[in-house]
């Protein structure tokens, strides 16, 4: 028997397409962010609050993934920015090819910011690179402060943790300090913002993080050109 070394990623094809997407985003100076959470944590609500904060001249687009229905795209389309639904038909995550296909008729020249809402799932989306500049994990206070320990992969790979639904804190047994400590045990450098998409508390922190990311992206593009 002969042992032949391989030494490459299992998701080789996904990694290849993601690298192509990342290069195209860099070329056109598009900041791409991948939002991941369990179902019902408030990804769509966070995007609604985000889109409504933008001037109509902002060059923003949204891809939103679900197993079925166009509901999220309809919710997000009313802000006037380009929105496209990706229905996976059963697949529990988005992969790079789905993004490539969805972008086929969207010229990146017209875009500065691409927000991707992944399928609601804390596990599988963490394995699939979509060519994004950063993953963002959303966790609602209705879910429990031990989620970072139970689902470490996505908290480890995310640059930002958005703790959502803080308006519910009086009604749920959620230990905010423990949740943040658990996230930092898994990923010491993770940034954290606390928001309520209902009362709009804390949204300024999220929007500042987003603007900082956009400025950093522009600075990188300017220095490399």
């Amino acid at each position: 028997m002969e042992r032949v070394p391989l030494e490459r990623k299992v998701l080789n094809e996904n990694a290849r397409i993601a690298a192509e997407l990342r290069a195209r985003f860099a070329e056109h100076n598009v900041l791409c962010l991948n939002l991941i959470s369990s179902p019902g944590s408030g990804k769509t609500s966070l995007l609604e609050r985000t889109l409504e904060s933008f001037a109509p001249s902002e060059r923003v687009a949204v891809l939103t993934g679900d197993i079925q229905t166009e509901n999220d795209a309809m919710r997000l389309a009313r802000f006037g920015f380009p929105v496209k639904q990706i229905t996976t038909g059963g697949t529990c995550h988005l992969d790079a090819r789905m993004i490539e296909r969805a972008l086929a008729d969207w010229p990146l020249e017209n875009m500065d910011l691409l927000l991707i809402e992944n399928v609601g799932n804390l596990v599988c989306p963490s394995s699939y690179d979509l060519g994004e500049a950063a993953k963002i994990v959303v966790l609602s206070v209705a879910e429990g402060e031990d989620k970072p320990l139970k689902y470490p992969s996505i908290f480890f790979k995310s640059e930002l943790l958005v703790l959502n639904k803080i308006d519910l804190l009086p009604y749920v047994p959620f230990d905010m300090a423990a949740a943040e400590a658990n996230a930092r045990k898994v990923h010491a450098e993770i940034e954290i913002v606390r928001v309520s998409c209902q009362t709009r508390d804390g949204l300024g922190g999220w929007l500042r993080w987003l603007q900082g990311k956009r400025r950093a992206g522009t600075a990188v593009a300017a220095s490399s050109s």
């Binding site: 028997m1 002969e2 042992r3 032949v4 391989l6 490459r8 299992v10 596990v123 394995s127 992969s153």
Partner: protein
């Protein structure tokens, strides 16, 4: 549950690689799965066996090399397996450590039937 898709990706790679070894059977594929890869090794084995059964790939074994999360101490350089309740370095007690290993999802090797002559000659 995305282990079925990942097991399928492993088998696609085995089929692609098999073209390099015409007439020789592949008996085993080695895969490295990190603790933080978000892939459950048992579910992966289950899916792999289901996909291989009753195909021309049989017999094909899956060897999972599971890699726990490993950190390196920033103070003394010691590498260690941190426990989440205590990330301090077991050698010097330093609190500052950096992740160095444990998120891989990689194909490591194939075991291929011996051929009459070496590949490429």
């Amino acid at each position: 549950m995305h282990e079925m898709g990942i097991a399928n990706s492993v088998l696609e790679s085995v089929r692609t690689e098999a073209q390099r070894f015409p007439g020789r059977h592949i008996y085993k594929v080695g895969v490295r799965i990190g603790e933080l890869a978000g892939v459950d090794p048992d579910a992966m084995r289950f899916c792999f066996e289901a996909l291989v059964r009753d195909t021309d790939l049989e017999p094909l074994a899956l060897d999972v090399d599971y890699r726990p999360r490993r950190h390196a101490c920033q103070a003394c350089g010691q590498s260690f397996l941190p426990r989440l309740e205590d990330l301090t370095c077991p050698q010097c007690g330093g609190a500052d450590s950096r992740f160095i290993e444990g998120d891989e999802l990689e194909l490591a090797y194939l075991e291929v039937e011996d051929g009459a002559c070496a590949a490429g000659t």
